[in-house]
């Protein structure tokens, strides 16, 4: 198959990129590992978008607040762009999404319920003439002898056959990496795009700022609306003195300490009084995990834990080389959670709102720029696959227990002791153990078809964990989501970004950085 623009991924950013590329006149194919409409973390959630009207003073105030929150690493110009693009384009979904009341006589645009949002984006993209190939995971990018990306190779899961798509420009919108933590909607978010981009020569940034976390019952990850006012109790019924959510790191450390010592029970009797009657209209999936176990969510106590979110509501991703979301690899763009959010979130979580505005805006920017680039390039001619790990072993083929490897990788990223008490000794220990996992799989792993998809997912998670650990080791300070026990202060000098790349040897670089 051939197309002007190939988009890999099936969440918000992929859909917005597809719509923008099609509007710019390009032919567009979207390949998703899952189903564009249910894939990824947006579909079972409901993102609020960072939303400020065109009033100049309001925009300036919002950007100043966000710049402060970014702790010196955000870029006000990018913030201005995503506010403008979000404000202009979110309402264009109105044909496909029934925007509701804002409670004050107007229309509520900024927050969109997940299942309807992703269904609307699918319908919008189809109406623009986009071809959507569901259950078509990409396995590797292809490039011509000049090093320009010419598309991708992958596997059609339902037909169990290989596919190849040639494109003038390719966009990675594969989402973040949740390391199979169980976070709601994240099973497909295994950092596949990070791996493909890095094999093509791209670098990543901001991976030390994470993971982020959410609260949920121990048996199921849910959305978190009911839990923000929770009281916490130990098994003996003593109320725990947990600092409030606003003191993010102290809150997490105290809760993690208590959870490590034995069950922590959440009590929602102090939830906002207006919430219980309307919870199921706002987050219809949230009551089910309780009702179906016979638990009254708001009246009974139930065991809670922190669920790791990997890079999802964090910061890190493929570094961007210019304002069109190019990656620095010719012909390759990145958008959404697959790209670094450092430009708009800096050292702190972009939460729902900033990251949602980023996904929409970076998707549209990359889509439009890729459409323009595809006017000059066709992706035709000689090309070869750039994938290496799991595809071309350098030694004798061995079998690996991927489930066990995935669990170990998740522990190095999300194990409470390692995550909430970050320090040189534990990070160096993680780096060593992850290296020991990496080298055998890099040299000896091989699979085909659906098994290759699973193998590449494990390799992508392992590679990301090594980059994140190296980045966290290299940043000898505490800043935003990156909190070090051994370096509790924030450096007062000009803040530095970190770029990370490399496979057998992980390389950290500090780019020349001019805050706008």
């Amino acid at each position: 198959m051939k197309t002007d623009v190939l988009i890999i991924g099936g969440g918000m950013a992929a859909a917005w990129a597809a719509i923008a590329a099609a509007e710019a006149g390009a032919s567009v194919i979207v390949v998703d590992k899952g189903y564009l409409g249910t894939s990824g973390v947006t579909a079972p959630a409901g993102p609020n978008h960072w939303w400020v009207g065109p009033d100049k003073a309001l925009r300036r105030d919002a950007i100043e607040r966000q710049s402060a929150k970014s702790l010196g690493l955000g870029n006000p110009e990018w913030m201005e762009r995503i506010l403008e693009i979000t404000f202009r384009h979110l309402p264009t979904l109105a044909t496909y999404y029934p925007f509701g009341s804002d409670g004050h006589g107007g229309t509520y645009y900024s927050g969109i319920r997940g299942p309807e949002y992703m269904r609307a984006l699918r319908r919008f993209a189809l109406a623009r003439g986009v071809t959507i190939l569901d259950h078509h995971p990409a396995i590797e990018l292809t490039a011509n002898p000049e090093g320009r990306i010419t598309g991708a190779l992958g596997h059609a899961l339902r037909r169990d056959e290989a596919w190849e798509i040639r494109a003038g420009a390719t966009i990675l919108a594969t989402g973040g990496n949740a390391f199979r933590s169980g976070l709601l909607g994240s099973h497909t978010n295994t950092g596949d795009g990070f791996l493909m981009a890095a094999e093509a020569g791209a670098r990543l940034s901001g991976l030390e700022f994470g993971p982020s976390w959410s609260h949920s019952p121990v048996w199921a990850s849910t959305r978190t609306l009911p839990y923000t006012g929770a009281r916490y109790y130990d098994a003996a019924g003593n109320e725990l003195d947990i600092p409030p959510l606003r003191q993010t790191h102290a809150h997490h450390q105290a809760l993690a300490t208590a959870i490590l010592q034995g069950p922590v029970l959440a009590d929602l009797s102090d939830a906002p009084a207006d919430l219980p009657p309307i919870l199921r209209r706002i987050q219809p999936f949230t009551p089910a995990p309780f009702e179906r176990r016979g638990i009254d969510l708001f009246k009974q106590r139930w065991p809670l834990r922190l669920w790791g979110e990997g890079t999802i509501r964090g910061v890190g991703g493929i570094d961007l080389a210019d304002r069109d979301c190019r990656t620095g690899v010719p012909g390759l763009f990145a958008a959404g959670d697959a790209a670094t959010r450092e430009l708009v979130a800096g050292a702190n979580s972009g939460g729902g709102a900033v990251n949602a505005a980023w996904a929409l805006s970076s998707g549209r920017i990359a889509g439009a720029a890729a459409a323009t680039e595809a006017l000059q390039h066709t992706g035709q001619g000689t090309a070869q696959g750039l994938g290496r790990y799991g595809l071309h072993p350098s030694g004798a083929v061995q079998n690996f227990d991927l489930g066990a490897i995935n669990a170990q990788v998740d522990e190095h990223i999300h194990g409470y002791q390692r995550a909430f008490w970050r320090q040189e000794s534990s990070l160096a220990d993680s780096a060593r153990q992850l290296d020991a996992l990496w080298h055998p799989i890099a040299a000896h792993a091989h699979a085909r078809g659906e098994k290759l998809v699973a193998l590449r997912e494990s390799i992508a998670m392992l590679a990301t964990a090594r980059w994140a650990t190296a980045s966290a080791l290299a940043r000898r300070e505490s800043r935003g989501l990156h909190q070090r026990e051994d370096y509790p202060q924030t450096n007062v000098e000009r803040p530095q970004r970190l770029l990370v790349s490399g496979f057998d040897t992980v390389i950290i670089a500090q780019p020349h950085w001019e805050p706008a």
Binding site: S101, Y108, D134, R158, T188, W219, T228, G229, I282, A288
Partner: protein
């Protein structure tokens, strides 16, 4: 995790096979079968998209559960999510999203409640 699709309700449309983001299900002669149970992330999407209300996702995402189909049929849970979402009456003129704007303020109210309690507790120390 997903439980076996209720054959008495399933019309074999295979919409659940198409929409599952992790391809847990596969087409079969009549009722789709669970072929990749380990990939089920308990996201409820198959339930939401099933117009026959023939799917019950059990609440524990960490382990498969055995359920009694008769108990499920009697539970009132089949179709509940689709109803709460408003997908069973989409062109009824009802505005299913008219309270969605309260998400942000209610999240914030919870955060405030917790912060106030903590401050109160430590003010009296």
């Amino acid at each position: 995790m997903i439980t076996p699709i209720l054959e008495s309700r399933c019309n074999g449309c295979n919409q659940c096979v198409a929409v599952c983001p992790t391809l847990v299900l596969a087409e079969a002669a009549q009722t789709p079968q669970i072929v990749r149970p380990d990939a089920c992330q308990t996201c409820y999407m198959c339930e939401l998209y099933c117009e026959q209300d023939a799917i019950y996702v059990a609440p524990d995402q960490t382990a498969p559960q055995t359920v009694d189909p008769q108990a499920i049929l009697a539970s009132g849970q089949l179709g509940r999510i689709r109803h709460d979402q408003g997908w069973d009456r989409e062109n009824s003129g009802e505005d299913h999203l008219d309270v969605y704007w309260r998400l942000g303020p209610l999240l914030g109210d919870g955060v405030e409640n917790a912060a106030r309690r903590y401050a109160g507790r430590h003010a009296t120390d």
